[in-house]
Amino acid sequence: MTLEEKVIKIIVEQLDVTEEECVLEASFIDDLGADSLDIVELLMEMEEAFGIEIADEELEKIATVQDVVDFLKQKGVN
């Protein structure tokens, strides 16, 4: 499974959305119906799944599925 696929799988599960909706460009708030609490919970799940830590300042920059993938890559996750 690629990193993108892993990320999408978690998002689909956490936000109760379909894989079709969960494209890389999708915005959590505008396209996937998430609110700020949903995003916090989602990123906690990412921390758990990939064994990383996301600081609050970094969290604020994450708006789309692609942002999560980029962030994880930057942290050395593949």
Partner: protein, 412 residues
């Protein structure tokens, strides 16, 4: 003229069934919903039995995300509210949404969530506490989530009067309609506290039955061998409507909520006083508010917890208030079958009381083999009784000295 309040919809989840009909059928069949605890590992606990909700599929009422995020006491309230509104054939329409409110009581709120999240905090630090922890724990979030789901924008509140919470909620909802602030109220009580903290805490108070080898015989109100209450979980929600509002939309009316009484013992944090005069006063107040006399009452759904003190003192209170009429009254405790659903009890027992009025069947007190000392009322022992009645009351009492009583009148 005082605005009148009627009941037009019922919804419930109890240890006896996952709907009002199932619960009622089991109750009048004298069945017990008590069994071994499955909600947590109770190996180290002296009490190993509870009245749990069984085979409930939350996905019939909420989505997967909500199951994960909401505590069960909230999910139960959403499910029972949906059933109650469907039963009332009522959708909260925008035209009257500001006249529709919600008051759902809960004794302890999201205790299971608190326990789980506190473990996360201790084991992994504050960053691992879920952002959904607080809104799952707060007791008023049953009301909050129900108002959001069904679009009720009128008065909202939550009663947290321990084991009387469901009854206090219904009483306050009734007053809200009488006062004129709402025409429709979604109200009742909910609880999902079969948890290690609750069983540990009540256990330390020596309040729980330890009849682990015979779970179905453990809750035995008014019986000589009663040894404490059986913790239960569950939810009962009723739809209250102002009479003319209900009549104008052609609603089916179950019964009239004619009176409510609430008093305080001002005595002890957990124990009732001998004679339980506060309980007698709360019954008296409900009867007075309904414009009736004690002799008019046919049936009392008792608090009847199966603790040595409650059952004796509740009996004394009934005898002190009703005098000679106490002998004619039927008094039964459905907790003998459901266990004690704490804040959910007031909602579920209001429903049993309303069904008794509507159907002319009095649910029994099961496990009543030998009445305890001074327990000499007609507790409708072991077998339901067919009897047409016109007025019935539901008693619930809670820690902190709360006594709350609802009085219902047969409709039609």
């Amino acid at each position: 003229m005082k605005r009148r309040v009627v009941i037009t919809g019922l919804g419930a989840l109890t240890p006896l069934g996952n709907s009002v009909n199932e619960s009622w059928k089991s109750a009048i069949a004298g069945q017990s919903g008590v069994g071994p605890i499955t909600k947590f590992d109770c190996n180290d606990f002296k009490t190993k039995i509870a009245g749990e909700i069984k085979n409930f599929d939350p996905l019939q009422f909420v989505n997967k995300q909500e199951v994960r995020r909401y505590d069960d006491f909230i999910v139960y309230a959403l499910a029972a509210s949906e059933m109650a509104l469907a039963d009332a054939k009522l959708t909260i329409a925008p035209e009257f949404s500001e006249r529709a409110g919600v008051i759902i009581g809960s004794a302890i709120g999201g205790l299971a969530t608190f326990e789980e999240e506190f473990k996360n905090l201790l084991n992994a630090g504050p960053r691992k506490v879920s952002p959904f922890a607080v809104p799952a724990i707060l007791a008023n979030l049953a009301s909050g989530q129900v108002s959001i789901r069904f679009g009720a924008k009128g008065p909202i509140n939550c009663a947290v009067t321990a084991c009387a919470a469901g009854t206090s909620a219904i009483g306050d909802a009734y007053k809200t309609i009488v006062y004129g602030d709402a025409d429709v109220m979604i109200t009742g009580g909910t609880e999902a506290a079969v948890t290690s903290m609750a069983v540990g805490g009540f256990g330390s108070m020596r309040a729980l039955s330890v009849r682990n080898d015979e779970p179905q015989k453990a809750s035995r109100p008014f019986d000589k061998d009663r040894d404490g209450f059986v913790i239960g979980e569950g939810c009962g929600i009723i739809i209250l409507e102002e009479l003319s509002f209900a009549l104008n939309r052609g609603a089916h009316i179950y019964a009239e909520l004619a009176g409510y009484g609430c008093t305080s013992d001002a005595f002890h944090m957990a124990a009732p006083p001998p004679g339980h005069e506060g309980a007698a006063r709360s019954m008296k107040l409900a009867i007075k508010n309904a414009g009736l006399n004690p002799e008019d009452i046919d049936y009392i759904n008792a608090h009847g917890t199966s603790t040595p003190l409650n059952d004796l003192y509740e009996t004394q209170a009934i005898k002190s208030l009703f005098g000679d009429h106490a002998k004619n009254l039927m008094v039964s405790s459905t907790k003998s079958m459901t266990g004690h659903m704490l804040g959910g009890t007031g909602g579920a027992e209001a429903i049993f009381t309303i069904k008794a009025l509507q159907e002319g069947i009095i649910p029994p007190t099961i496990n009543l083999d030998n009445p305890g000392d001074e327990c000499d009322l007609d507790y409708v022992p072991n077998v339901a009784r067919h009897r047409q009645i016109n007025t019935a009351m539901s008693n619930t009492f809670g820690f902190g000295g709360v006594n709350a009583v609802l009085l219902f009148k047969k409709w039609g």
